[in-house]
């Protein structure tokens, strides 16, 4: 993936100006930087979700799979129904729920789940689609250390050699997910 951004702005606020990014295929790249440095914007541009900028791009993924920073769960249905959005049947959804450590809470409506449970559910849903590149925005937000390790293990297993780009501001994430390359935004 190659992206050259001549200018990317939200109103008067310029996020990127005259920068280019080269993401090697099949490798894991971590994007680091403080809040407001444009990490999420970059992820959206690399995944092809945001095309509203001046510049060029090459070889962007056709079917990107994104773990969004926000959980993006349907609040007034239960956890299993949220997985049914992407699962082929109920059995698969229930298995994924159990694997994510949410088995008992699967019948609960999402708005009754804690922040950590919601993130686990979002990760479980992220692991369903078979895309050609994985993008993760603050993947372990709201998770405790043990849950982070478990989630990282499942994500790395699911990655299976595909290109992966993730955003974090936590150095611990680097040690558990690893990275072939890092991009530092300031």
């Amino acid at each position: 993936m190659k992206v050259r951004i001549d200018r990317k702005a939200f109103g008067d606020e310029v996020i990127f100006s005259g920068v280019s990014f080269d993401i090697p295929d099949g490798k894991c790249t971590a994007v680091l930087g403080p809040s407001g440095s444009g990490k999420t914007t970059l992820l959206r541009i690399l995944s092809g979700l945001d095309r509203d900028y001046e510049g060029t791009s090459e070889n962007l993924p056709v079917r990107p799979v994104i773990l969004f920073q926000e959980d993006r769960l349907v609040e007034n249905i239960n956890a299993i129904s949220n997985l049914m959005l992407v699962a082929k049947d109920r059995k698969t959804a229930e298995e994924a729920l159990a694997a994510s450590g949410l088995g008992e809470d699967g019948r609960k409506v999402v708005r009754e789940l804690s922040g950590g449970m919601r993130r686990k559910l979002a990760i479980a849903r992220f692991l369903f689609p078979e895309g050609d590149a994985l993008f993760l925005d603050e993947p372990f937000r709201a998770l405790d250390d043990e849950s982070r390790r478990e989630a990282a293990e499942r994500i790395l297993k699911h990655r299976n050699g595909r290109t992966m780009v993730y955003i974090t501001h936590d150095p611990d994430d680097l040690s558990i997910l690893g990275a072939d390359f890092t991009i530092h935004l300031s």
């Binding site: 969004f68 249905i77 049914m84």
Partner: protein
């Protein structure tokens, strides 16, 4: 101050009893059943009506028409609201229709509809016309209000249209739909009965209400009004329960 569920129920019952007492006191003060019958004479009249076969036939006639109109409006409103959400041109086309129906007085629509159809089915058409804009507007608002971030996620994850409807759109529309259902049912009943009072279809509640008025039988008028209120309340409870239950089953 917090009011527990039990004391809240007791307070609500007390409020109803209070107004019945006010009604009884006003009736005693006026002292003329023709102007304001007592609650007691209305209840007695109601008991007599319940024993008459004609009462049940009239109720069945009106209930069947109003429900027919309600279901027609419900289906049409849901289909057209979905089409309006999907096709901006269709939405523009529907807009004047909905505005005109909403702004036109029930009486004008009744007279106009009586020119086209027989009075037998008048209440069905009128309640349908009154219910349609409420359900249409609310369902459309629910679809429009669907979280854009969830829809973006569905695009990225390649979620099929059927699953979007079942797990994203229905949960999003449901709160709007339920609140509109309550208002629409109430309006459907009121406009349906008003249409019957104007069009006087044989064997309808509207005709019985009109007869009570011309024969100056005020207790009958009150008794029929109580029947209409009870029917409207019962249907509202049943429909709200059925709607929430079905939506719960679909999105499970």
């Amino acid at each position: 101050m917090k009011i527990s569920t039990l004391s809240s129920k007791a307070l609500r019952t007390a409020a109803v009893l209070f107004w019945i007492a006010v009604w009884a006191a006003a009736s005693v003060l006026i002292g003329e059943e023709l102007f304001l019958p007592s609650p007691w004479s209305v209840v007695m009249r109601l008991i007599i009506l319940l024993g008459e076969g004609e009462f049940w036939l009239s109720s069945l006639f009106t209930i069947s028409r109003i429900l027919l109109g309600f279901f027609l409006a419900l289906c049409t409103a849901m289909i057209t609201a979905s089409l309006s959400a999907a096709f901006p041109l269709f939405r523009i086309l529907m807009d004047p229709v909905v505005r005109i129906i909403r702004a036109t007085p029930v009486a004008s629509i009744v007279i106009l509809v009586l020119v086209w159809i027989s009075s037998r089915n008048l209440s069905a058409v009128i309640s349908a016309m009154m219910v349609f804009p409420i359900i249409y507007t609310n369902v459309l608002q629910g679809i429009d209000g669907t979280d854009k971030e969830i829809l973006e996620m569905a695009d990225v994850y390649g979620v099929s249209i059927l699953k979007r409807i079942r797990y994203i759109y229905i949960p999003s529309v449901l709160p709007y739909f339920l609140s509109s259902l309550s208002i629409a049912l109430g309006l459907g009943w009121k406009s349906g009965i008003a249409a019957e009072v104007i069009g006087l279809p044989d064997g309808s509640i509207g005709e019985r209400v009109y007869e009570a008025k011309i024969y100056l039988s005020t207790p009958d008028l009150f008794a029929w009004t109580v029947v209409i209120i009870i029917l409207a309340y019962l249907f509202e409870r049943v429909f709200l329960f059925l709607a929430s239950y079905s939506a719960g089953r679909i999105t499970r």
